[in-house]
Symmetry: C2
Subunit: 566 residues, 2 copies
């Protein structure tokens, strides 16, 4: 992942000296040993302040904040304003940022959920990887790039960044739709597929072996690392952290240890010749299964809010903007963007047989976001990308990510106007055992309840959702009633207090996915939407974070106290 | 502050090459450009895991955790196990750690409190700086060190680390004693005096001017920077953050911006030829006056829990343990340790005229802790310290910090056995207007209440303490009754809920200082004590942190809900 190696290549050119400029090299070497901390702090200050100004501005014009940070990086970088020169210090901090980003993705990934991803999602995911990648490799080769470079171009097109899609679906109250479920499921599968592809492609490039036997053994090795590291992580890490958590004197110990484990897994991946982020991702999934999940997620969030912007700005800073104006770059970028969009659209046929809007699913898979960028930086670090191909991938990522939200909105609203609020026609009698029951770790809806029960059933289900998975019937019914107005009464208020006190992050996610929060608690919805706008909050599951809930708890606690005049 | 410069000196030696080893240098230069991220992550993993193991172990044998981290650094460093080689990457992270540490000290410093520091505290602080520093400079010169080195040795002896003392006083329920108040007040004044001395000494050494006019102008300049940066910070930063806080879409913006401002101030101090930590401290005091104080403190805490251990371990890693076995080092260290202890003891005469145990005050001022170490690293960075003097300061810091807690405990318990629980003899009638009143931003105690009122009056005062300062009469009365047992009834339970909901960090601090938490809520006291054990929680005011209170709020909220069966 070290973007640094690109600079290194030019260092090496100066490093073949004739005797007479030996003196010069020596003085460069002497000054290279000195760390200018003043410069480090100044760079860090500029990056953090500019990152936040940019993401707030882009947020207001409804463009994903992550794009704001990359553009800001280009603007302050050496090819435009020159406020910041690329430096090793910032690269190290950026690298820590991407480690935390991937650990966070792992931390929020529910392995159970991955197992539950349906046939449709899995097919969409596989087609969405195979189609753009194979076309990308072909197009790259035809346009005159080397096979290695084409492999990386193709791999960068395979990724899906689900954060942006999840947000648009959420804004339009469509997260509980079948389409959204298929897209989000496919994206989760995509994360894992993408890491396997990254591993394979990187090893092929590094070893130079492209024969079938070599590729198969490499795929085996990549999957082997994921399986072994995953097995070690999933069995040992939760036990270790539980043991430490019970004995630790200081409450900070668990969080720091979790960070230590994440860096250890990253180092292990690196010494197995894999990208460090793969280790970080595996560590994240292992940490997700510990009892201290919430505490670790909160600590990582605070770290990420500082370091992830450094990563995105560094991408912009490392971009040579003059490369954008080359005809070759623009042609390759245009071709690849078309492949990126069409490839994902075609992947939607994987949802064949479901009663869904295939076009909507296709559009939902389009944004590449941060995942494509991570591939590009790795391409640079293993030496197959030069500045022009880096610029190509950056352009493709920017275009696919900008184009998706308005298309999604257009498609969703034109669907919506066709379907009006359903009448309570098919309503059935309440079955024996109640409308909502938990069977086999699944929250099941039985019968068709009347629409006035949306709020109480949603609150009841959200409490169950803390430990079980809502079934399709429940989500479908909630989605049908996504626009019905919700009325609070004494009973639902009490149920809501109960969710506040006993619910967990998954309960809140259920309420958010079913648009109950947007409708019943618009203030809270704004707060949650704001969090989603953060570049550091790219995962689809970062929907309801503890601080919001905590603030609510305090608020409600205070109100309860005042009302009951204890 | 860059410890790196020490290595740099040796780099420079290899950097004066004859022509024939030019080739070698070139290859070193080429490899110097490459960042080995795998190594960075491995080092970080080792440092974080070892830091937590060490601090937990030391905590259990009642030795301050920060010493555990330094010793661990020595053990894993190149002079012993060699698990970690000194690297620029870790130095940069360590430097970020010390910036966050000092910003945190500033963030927790109440400027109002500094203004209220009494005559006794101020005299103890000044004597406690002047006596050890002048004797240290003299001893250094007599023992054959250069004037510059002696100046830094003296400066390192001037510092007081109050975290360790505050903790021992707290453990023995003596934080509300007059002695504790004098020591803590003196330590706060010491922080500011220490930064001025550091600035002056650094500039004298860097400029080489030691004439009276030069020293005076340097002192002026140092104070000038503190005043100007302080004025800019205190007027602009709160307004800027309030403006941003009201408009920001993302809740993370304020915390990231605060970090950006901290690094900007550090860079400004650095470009004014001052230590970056001075800028970080000033930024911290400015951030303390913003509305978002709590949010910023929480974000900095999470950052600090990762980076501050890197700083302390780096100190150990940079220590050449073989230097400890030199006769000269041991002699200088022994002499300076005696000066360090006796100097602070004598400073206690500054409390002349108060009815206090001067010996207890003197012992309380003895630990040097992290402040002396920061001075030592700066001494290395400006080139006046070689590895032997670095080892000397390290030994002095370790000895003074280890020796103080048992001495404090001995003195406190031998005092305690002399004074029994007072009878309710002098009890007066409740005055008109109540026992506790807030007048001129001061929480005042009127009359002498009976001992059974300790709990209700403490809870009532803690709510007032959220915005006003408890006066001496109140603290003295609380201290007299520090061992009386507390009984909860319906009224006090309700008052406690009120404190939970409406109190702030200062309310909790008041309850902790008066030992009410230890006696009435032993579980909470354990949690708070554990936080104090953290090396990242060295400030005297880190006594009651929001997470503890939040956890409590949730707990109480739940209980309230269940009880009132809402």
């Amino acid at each position: 992942m070290d973007v640094g190696r690109r600079r290194r290549a030019s260092d090496r050119r100066t490093a073949r000296p004739s005797d007479r400029n030996c003196e010069v090299i020596s003085s460069v070497l002497a000054s290279a040993g000195a760390i200018d901390y003043g410069r480090v702090f100044a760079d860090l200050a500029i990056i953090l302040i500019v990152a936040k100004v940019a993401s707030e501005l882009f947020e207001r014009i409804h463009v994903p904040a992550v794009l704001g940070e990359i553009v800001a990086g280009i603007v302050i970088g050496p090819s435009m304003l020159g406020l910041i020169d690329p430096s090793d210090a910032m690269r190290i901090l950026a690298e820590i940022g991407v480690i935390i980003l991937l650990a966070d993705v792992g931390l929020e990934m529910d392995l159970k959920e991955l197992r539950r991803v349906g046939r449709a999602s899995m097919l969409v995911a596989i087609l969405g990887v195979v189609l753009p990648m194979s076309s990308g490799v072909l197009a790259g080769s035809l346009l005159g790039e080397s096979l290695n470079a084409s492999l990386f171009l193709g791999a960068a097109l395979a990724a899906t960044s689900v954060g942006i899609t999840a947000r648009v679906f959420g804004d339009l109250r469509a997260l509980s739709s079948t389409e959204a479920r298929i897209v989000l499921g496919a994206a989760v599968a995509d994360d894992v597929l993408g890491l396997v592809i990254l591993t394979v492609v990187t090893r092929i490039v590094v070893q130079g072996s492209v024969d079938v036997a070599g590729v198969i053994s490499t795929i085996g090795l990549a999957i082997g690392f994921l399986v072994i590291a995953g097995a070690v992580g999933l069995t040992l890490v939760p036990r270790l952290l539980a043991w430490v958590g019970n004995r630790a004197v200081s409450p900070a110990t668990v969080g720091v240890l979790a960070a230590g484990i994440t860096f250890a897994f990253s180092a292990a991946a690196s010494s197995a010749q894999l990208a460090p982020i793969i280790g970080a991702f595996v560590a994240g999934t292992a940490l997700a299964r510990t009892d201290h999940h919430d505490r670790i997620a909160r600590d990582f969030k605070a770290l990420g809010s500082i370091f992830i912007p450094v990563f995105f700005l560094q991408i912009g800073i490392d971009t040579d903007v003059t490369k954008f104006f080359s005809g070759h770059v623009l042609i390759v970028a245009a071709v690849l963007t078309v492949i990126a969009i069409v490839g994902k659209m075609l992947a939607a046929v994987g949802a064949w047989g479901t009663n869904t809007d295939k076009l909507l699913i296709g559009i939902g898979m389009v944004p590449r976001g941060e995942v494509g960028l991570i591939f590009a930086t790795i391409g640079v670090s293993v030496g197959v990308f030069q500045e022009d191909l880096y610029a190509v991938v950056l352009l493709v990522v920017l275009l696919t990510t900008v184009v998706a939200p308005p298309l999604l909105k257009w498609r969703l609203t034109s669907n919506d106007s066709a379907s009006a609020e359903p009448e309570d026609e098919n309503v059935t009698e309440e079955p024996v055992g109640g409308w909502v029951r938990v069977i086999n770790d699944e929250v099941q809806l039985h019968g068709v309840p009347p629409s006035r029960l949306v709020l109480p059933l949603a609150l009841q289900s959200s409490l169950h959702a803390a430990t079980a998975q809502p079934n399709d019937a429940l989500l479908d019914w909630m989605h049908t009633h996504r626009n019905s107005t919700l009325q609070w009464d004494e009973e639902t208020s009490q149920m809501f207090l109960d969710v506040l006190m006993r619910g967990n992050a998954r309960s809140w996610r259920f309420l958010d996915v079913t648009s109950v929060i947007t409708r019943a608690l618009p203030e809270v919805a704004t707060a949650i939407r704001a969090r989603r706008g953060d570049a550091s909050e790219l995962g689809p599951t970062h929907l309801a974070q503890m601080p919001t809930v905590e603030a609510l708890r305090t608020k409600v606690g205070r109100a309860t106290l005042a009302d009951s005049s204890l």
